[in-house]
């Protein structure tokens, strides 16, 4: 069965969409590649796509994000060239998530290095009445 995926690079990444496209051409698999401003769209047989996804991810483990796409690239039902322009359906979600991709990339990098996540802010809450009473007694007794 055919499969289509978005490959999106984080703003922190040194990998360009053209680098990913070249890498896919080097692999020599029967995959259609479409370069876009945010990354590439790849389309091909499911086995080829799954194998390629692993190799693309290895180019920059924490800065490359991959997502499934329902329609093949250039499909007239989605392609803006055929629909007379305007934002592509799904653009706003991708725009919103692209803005926080650098943060997620740093999170992934620190997770890969085994760094511990800082405690939640909620843990630094106000002391309860009982705790406050205990603190006062300890301080002034």
């Amino acid at each position: 069965m055919k499969s289509t995926k978005y490959v999106v690079t984080s703003q922190d990444s040194d990998v360009l969409p053209s680098d990913i496209a070249l890498k896919i051409y080097e692999l020599g698999r029967e995959i259609n590649v479409k370069e876009t401003c945010f990354g590439v769209i790849i389309d091909g047989e499911e086995e080829d796509i799954d194998a390629t996804v692993e190799e693309i991810r290895a180019m920059d483990e924490s800065n490359i994000f991959i997502k499934d796409r329902g329609f093949p690239p250039g499909d007239p039902r989605r392609c803006r060239g055929h629909r007379g322009g305007g934002a592509r359906p799904g653009f706003y979600m991708m725009q919103h998530e692209s803005e926080i991709l650098p943060l997620i990339s740093r999170g992934l990098a620190s997770e890969a290095m085994g760094e511990e996540a800082s405690p939640e802010i909620e843990t630094r809450k106000r002391p309860s009445l009982v705790e406050l009473e205990k603190m006062i007694k300890e301080e002034f007794s």
Binding site: M1, K2, S3, T4, Y6, V8, R57, F65, I66, K67, D68, R69, G70, F71, P72, D75, R77, P89, G90, F91, Y92, M93, M94, H96, E97, I100, L101, L103, I104, R106, G107, L108, S110, E111, E115, A117, S118, E120
Partner: protein, 145 residues
């Protein structure tokens, strides 16, 4: 491998994080792909088959707006398939096919009443929150094994 439903069901970040750990992310684009590959449908998901409203009726009554039932015909089978779920609370970005607030409420409700492991989070706003976000998701997904 566990099937993990992500909410918003179009989220790239969640789907990517789930698939990095070797699990299968249940996202709406996979359901749309099935429709795209179905001959005779001119413009899925706007076009429906006679079977779709029946699927939607399983989750929402006939007097519920047709958009909710149409969306539930895609999301309902995903919810049934899910073994675990990750839900984003501050989902202000849901627009387009995931822009129906009532469908989103129903999806979250059905996931919560399904008695499967659920992780609820907010999208991070700074680096510390992002580290916790990634760490919590990793911990949750590793726990599913």
């Amino acid at each position: 491998m566990v099937k993990v439903m992500v909410y918003p069901p179009t989220s790239m970040i969640l789907a990517d994080l789930v698939e990095r750990t070797g699990h299968e992310a249940l996202v709406v684009s996979k359901e749309v792909r099935k429709k795209v590959n179905t001959p005779g449908l001119d413009s899925p998901p706007l076009n429906m088959t006679p079977e779709d409203p029946k699927k939607g009726l399983k989750y929402a009554a006939v007097d519920v707006p047709s958009g909710v039932r149409g969306r539930m015909s895609l999301l309902g089978p995903m919810i049934e398939e899910a073994d675990a779920a990750i839900i984003i609370r501050n989902d202000n970005c849901t627009l387009g096919c995931t822009g129906c607030a009532r469908t989103n409420e129903l999806t979250r409700f059905l996931l919560k009443t399904k008695r499967i492991p659920i992780l609820e989070l907010d999208y991070p706003e700074d680096e510390f929150q992002a580290k916790r976000f990634v760490h919590k998701i990793h911990e949750f997904l590793e726990g599913l094994n």
